[in-house]
Subunit: 392 residues, 2 copies
């Protein structure tokens, strides 16, 4: 299959890897539909960067690495951050999928591997209609692209500005890698989990002496139950806090609030779930420290989530419990299709739809003007989505 | 309850009433969130007009009319178009709801009536979990608002331009009324129907001698089956064509294509259903003729749809048929949440959520990478959504 160079827009330059779905998905674009570069004045919050990449090709086997040969691929502790990040997310994909299959006992993950001619690629894994999970997707991807100088400048901020001849700055090559996952269980007492960790790096621009490399980390883990078991939510948040506290005591409170703010369904005035942690554009710490932090967070997924599932997966439930879970699944769909930056971006730019929308639940429900009875368990969940709580 | 003046953005000035959902919904907005007027240069296709309106109040009874006292409310054939349009859509709401209840035999419509202090209001009717329909909404509304001069100028085009002192043009009062409906049956062989007809009128701007009143009609009726019965689709399109042909032989082919183009799920490369007719911003015909045309189309809903439901509502079906219907319902959700201008506009500006989202099905489904077997009945439906056909 011949590959071709394509152009896509990014949701935000400073926060390029805004969402996991971007990272799930090979991004084949019709080049004619989008102009090569955004030439309008760019403001940071509204910036839509552009990048070029090649069409994906299915692969029969997982390669050792998706990095280009020119990158350091030895993945030792002294090797490049990009190589070590790829190694980390692939290990996490393995361990999370194993843990899910182990608990599910029924279905197995189906794997799709793909690559791009110019370097990069990904592994998508989906388990559907298992004994415990109705739909579980765990994807990793590595992307090489080119961003316009405006995006680079906006993302870089004022650092070293004096040393750069901005007029000479051309398109800036970048690298991005990420893992992303959404896990929807069947039992209405077993919560949905989402996590996503990503790393972004630019090359040093050519023809612009003094312009530095840039890099960022982003990600988060959040829990979306239909019913509140306080012990579960405390356990989940405690694990997030422990992961954060190993690095910086300000991380958990900041990233907990960021999570509550991000997963907000504005037209409902409620969050899609009970939060967790979320961060983006993180580069104002030591790079090694943030790589360790992203690794710690990724490795916390299993201990944060699996014990909850073990406790709730076999609880008896009624049709009413199931219907309420389905209504909350409807909210999940609303958030992902209307607000989630990665999803809306992916849909608009022609990303691989099945990878982008694997985050949607198998089934969802919308009832007209449904209002849970005050004081009921359903009402308590809704209240906690409207008024985010401190769980620990 | 004290009412307050609010500001909302419109999706497109020339096509203000772009979609039914806008007309279903009282539109309470937080004034501080949206600047009073868009002061950026406005291009016609991207124009976001603004208007101010008051918060809605629930009413115990349906009023004789939602028109302001200052409007002509006698609703005789010689009275104002706005009065006759309101009368027409309220009659159609009555007759469609009666027909639905008659066929359903189970559930009844629940009615919500609301009004605004400054004039305008609406009647929302929803039937849920009936014997035949899982969710059926039929709403009418009347809105008084104010649009900025840019929106008026863009919508008006170049007519009478010389006579107007544009510098003196202030905000332009407008009137809009519409009926809108989405009907989702339970049986997977019985199709979903959507229809919406709307009328829009500005007052003559004050302080701008020579600036004329403007008016437009918009609307359409379209069919979304999960399985194709050619007889049904031909019957449905024939009724649409007959309604069109009574007025202009170019209407059906133009509005059939417009419908195929509008209900396009771009990220899937497919339409949500098998189309029908759709038109917007229609004002380049005699006003009386277009009022008659909108009336004819509205009155065609029952003969176009009910006979199909009568034939299909009791057909036996399997779990596989139901699952396919649910996947197509998922597409309906994707179109409405991602593309439908009225829905996306309503969600962003704080419209009454339950009225806006009554268009969503009771239940929907997303399977990873589902591909119907080539040549199957499911494949035939998908093919017709990807490659729109001429049915008559």
């Amino acid at each position: 299959m011949p590959s071709f160079v394509t152009i896509v827009s990014l949701p935000s330059s400073s926060s390029f890897p805004t969402n996991h779905h971007l990272w799930n998905s090979p991004i084949p674009i019709q080049p004619k539909k989008i102009p090569p570069f955004n030439t309008k004045p760019i403001k940071l919050p509204l910036l839509r960067a552009t990048l070029s990449m090649e069409k994906e090709t299915p692969e029969p086997h997982r390669p050792e690495t998706f990095l280009r040969d020119s990158d350091d691929t030895t993945a030792s502790s002294s090797s490049s951050v990009r190589a070590r990040f790829e190694k980390m997310i692939r290990e996490v994909q393995e361990s999370v999928c194993s843990a899910i299959e182990g608990v599910d006992g029924g279905a197995r993950f189906k794997e799709d591997v793909w690559s791009r001619n110019g370097g990069g690629g990904g592994i998508s894994r989906v388990l559907q209609d298992g004994d415990v999970w109705e739909k579980a997707g765990v994807n990793v991807s590595v992307v090489y692209g080119v961003m316009p100088p405006e995006a680079y400048r906006a993302a870089k901020g004022s650092a070293s500005d004096d040393a750069i001849d901005h007029n000479k700055l051309g398109p800036v090559p970048f690298f991005a890698a990420g893992i992303s996952s959404v896990l929807h269980p069947k039992n209405p007492f077993a919560p949905t989990l989402h996590f996503n960790y990503r790393y972004f790096e630019t090359d040093a621009p050519k023809d612009a002496p003094g312009a530095p490399r840039q890099w960022w980390f982003g990600g988060g883990t959040d829990l979306t139950p239909a019913y509140i078991f306080e012990d579960d939510v405390k356990h989940f948040h405690s694990i997030q806090k422990s992961a954060c506290d190993k690095f910086d005591p300000t991380f958990y409170p900041r990233f907990k609030k960021w999570c509550d703010d991000y997963f907000y369904i504005k037209h409902r005035g409620e969050r899609r779930g009970l939060g967790g942690i979320f961060f983006d554009d993180l580069n104002d710490y030591d790079q090694e420290m943030l790589l360790s932090f992203a690794t710690e967070c990724s490795n916390s997924v299993i201990p944060a989530y699996i014990p909850i599932i073990e406790k709730r997966k076999d609880l008896p439930f009624t049709d009413q419990h199931k219907a309420w879970q389905q209504l909350r699944r409807g909210r999940y769909v609303e958030f992902n299709l209307v607000y989630d930056r990665g999803t809306t971006f992916g849909l608009k730019t022609g990303g691989r739809i099945e990878s982008i929308l694997v985050s949607l639940p198998l089934t969802a429900r919308w009832e007209y003007d449904h209002k849970p009875e005050e004081g009921s368990e359903e009402w308590k969940l809704l209240d906690a989505c409207i008024n985010p709580k401190e769980w620990i």
